[in-house]
Amino acid sequence: MSILKHREALLALAILLLVGVVAARFPAFVRPGNLANVFNDTSPLILLAIGQMIVILTKCIDLSMAATLALCGMVAALLNGAGVPLPLILVLVVVLGGLLGAVNGLLVWKLGIPSIVVTLGTMTIYRGTIFLITDGAWVNAHQMTDDFKALPRAVIAGLPVMSWVALAAIALFTVLLTRTPLGRSFYAVGGNPHAAVYTGISVGRTQFLAFVIAGALAGLTGYLWVARYAVAYVDIASGFELSVVAACVIGGVAIAGGAGSVIGTVMGALFLGVINNALPVVGISPFWQLAISGSAIVLAVAFNSAQNRPAGRIILKSVEPR
């Protein structure tokens, strides 16, 4: 635990440093309004990264999250077009997202197909489904009702609802992961699947639940995304799955499962969010963005593994020559 805390503190420091460097040249960047903006902008990444983290905890990976987001977002837009009331849409996208996650989970659980293969397949299937139900047509701002578009940007106590959703998810999942049997079983299943069976935890079922949670989060984010950017089409958030994995990795989630925390993941996402938002401000060409986040990932991995290296037994310290 102490190593984990240590790592998160360092990551927080790195983010502060980054913000500080930017602020040194552009003080406007650290205006609370702008920082809130950065957070709001990073909210979808945070939401997805939390879901992905839970999946990774159980020794799986979900490459279909972005596709789930896109499909649920499109369905939300279509339901809106069909006159379905907003609260019902919200429920439906979360359920749909959960169902799509459940498909992944069932294939992993019941057929024992490795998650990377399953989600590689469902990733294209889910995205293709959007094309099948829309024929590729876009849903544009003028085809959406105002209240549909307004929800994520409605400001409550100084922050848009989108940010509040992310904050709520952070709180909810911190409690879930640290204080409920289900949460601890995610760690157990990933940390030592063999032992989990002996403890009466079903590895497959737990992995299934992780996929359902990830799917439901992606579904909710799908609505938020579509409503915020006021557009839905086949390709939204394409490639986002890799940013999500990157956020987890930078946040110290062990890709082998069993280790990681919500707060670390959130900071991993914020780290990427700050970079994305700061680059244009600092005047660095956006073409640098990819290389910078790539380097950050490699450094984070190297750093995490250096921290996790067993220190050795140091048995010799008690054997001083007499």
Binding site: M1, P181, A195, L316
Partner: protein, 498 residues
């Protein structure tokens, strides 16, 4: 007396193996029942059936005379059956308290985990078995013995009526083994029914009231411990009598082959020096964790020593990889067969030839005919039982896997062979075979190092014994000094009796 738990006609098979065929087992309150059988007899399998991890194809489980089904480990735990399994089954990333309570943690009013209750409960349980561990520590930061204590505390946390111990002493030191015996006594007094699995007859006779014997997945017999002798038990286990455990040795010792001097490692060992001769068996004794394996692994290029010299036939050799070690004629048969020795997914013949590929191939290209020839030679020599040489190694029984692993090292035609705990967890029958084989190797002029934690084995097999403690050589024992007493004192760091 009525049994608390009884099994009738239990069968369980795995692809290719009938692990259990209609076996029976009874456990009585306040009594220890010893389950005895060779490797692969099905002991661990019945434990897994009892704890709901495997579901048997046939048979019934009764608790207090009522039939019951265990669909999962949780069912069994609710019914009052708990086990300390043969393999450690804990979670490095979770805290001590969480490891103890995972799956049945105390809850607060809101249904959340009650961390305070968990912590105090853990402290209480640990105290009851004489351990003082901080329940907030990450389990991964603990040593092996402490982990074992946590496993025991976990088993006690469920208020079980039936406690199963599957080879609990295999990983423990002398002192800890005795603490465990005390604990078993306490549990007995509390009226719990105990199933105790062990290959060590002395401890079985010491703590058990009853015995049950399995052979090849079948029930052979049961009865009171007081009404049976060691010889009869062995007879039941193997279906024949095993009279002599250690083979006669021709102590025909030749010139030095391997000389080690001033060997050090930054964290694991220091100042190791010894000489090994042709035709000699050199024993390495020490408690678990003494650093013997690390020394051997350094000699074979798996870990890197910080300084020191290794000479083979008087010539200084620097060994930085296992590849170079094999070229120099040193091979290491590792203690952890499943992880370090056997490649279960590959066919038997490929396992055998893996370290010898340089010999069986031409210019880097494989020659299957050569490989089969080599594999045939060595598997025959070790009397391997398998249906074909291209069978996957993982489909063989543990003892046969071990034979393939040994064959693979012999096939490299080494000059020095290091066997690390060659008989750990092996039944008496196979043990004798391995011992005989070691004696043969030495007689053929091979230099043998045997790392072992079993005193009778060390004394019975070795020409000389080196004792290690905390990463250093404490003593070298030969001739008249080769007594159990000397070894135990040296290993435990107790001064020679005045």
């Amino acid at each position: 007396m009525k049994p608390v738990l009884s099994l009738r006609g239990i069968s369980k098979s795995f692809p290719g193996v009938k692990a259990l065929q209609g076996v029976q087992l009874d456990l009585y309150p306040g009594q220890v029942t010893a389950l005895i059988g060779e490797n692969g007899a099905g002991k661990s399998t019945i434990v897994k059936v009892l704890t709901g991890i495997y579901q048997p194809e046939e048979g019934s489980i009764e608790i207090d005379g009522t039939p019951i089904r265990f669909a999962s480990a949780q069912d069994a735990s609710r019914a009052g059956v708990t086990a300390i399994h043969q393999e450690t089954v804990l979670f490095d990333e979770l805290s001590v308290a969480e490891n103890i309570w995972l799956g049945h943690a105390p809850r607060t009013r809101f249904g959340l985990i009650d961390r305070r209750a968990m912590r105090t409960g853990a402290t209480r349980l640990l105290a009851s078995i004489g351990a003082t561990l901080n329940p907030d520590l990450r389990l991964g930061d603990l040593g092996i013995a402490s982990k074992h204590l946590v496993a025991i505390a976990r088993a006690l946390s469920t208020e079980a009526r039936v406690v199963i111990l599957d080879e609990p002493t295999a990983a423990l030191s002398h002192k800890e083994i005795h603490e465990l015996y005390d604990l078993v006594e306490t549990l007995k007094r509390q009226g719990k029914a105990i199933l105790f699995i062990s290959h060590k007859f002395d401890e079985v006779f010491r703590i058990a009231e009853r015995y049950t014997v399995f052979r090849d997945g079948q029930f052979v017999g049961e009865g009171a411990m007081s009404a049976v002798t060691e010889g009869e038990l062995v007879q039941m286990m193997v279906g024949r009598s095993v009279d002599q455990i250690f083979p006669p040795r021709s102590h025909n010792i030749g010139p030095p082959v391997l000389t080690v001097a001033g060997y050090c490692h930054p964290t694991e060992f220091a100042d190791i020096g010894f000489t090994l001769h042709r035709g000699e068996i050199l024993g390495f004794y020490g408690l678990v964790g003494a650093g013997r394996s690390e020394v051997m692994q350094a000699l074979c290029g798996i870990t890197t020593p910080s300084k020191g010299a290794v000479r083979i036939d008087g010539e200084v050799r620097v060994i930085r990889s296992t590849h170079e070690a094999i070229a120099a004629g040193i091979v290491y048969v590792p203690e952890d067969r499943g992880r370090q020795g056997a490649i279960r997914g590959l066919p038997i013949f490929q396992n055998v030839t893996l370290p010898s590929l340089a010999r069986t191939s031409r210019n880097g290209f494989l020659r299957l005919a050569e490989e089969f020839r080599l594999a045939r030679d060595y598997t025959r020599r070790l009397d391997l039982r398998a249906s074909s040489l291209d069978q996957e190694l993982g489909l063989l029984s543990g003892g046969n896997q071990q034979k393939v692993v040994i064959a693979k090292w012999l096939a490299t035609k080494p000059r020095v062979i290091i066997l690390d705990e060659p008989t750990k967890g092996i039944d008496i029958g196979s043990k004798a075979a391995v011992h005989e084989f070691m004696a043969e190797l030495a007689a053929e002029g091979l230099a043998v190092i045997m790392v072992s934690s079993e005193i009778p084995e060390v004394l019975g097999m070795s020409d000389r014994v080196i004792v290690m403690r905390e990463g250093r050589i404490i003593d070298e024992v030969a001739g008249d000094r080769m007594t159990p007493e000397t070894l135990v004192r040296a290993a435990a760091g107790i001064a020679e009796a005045a």
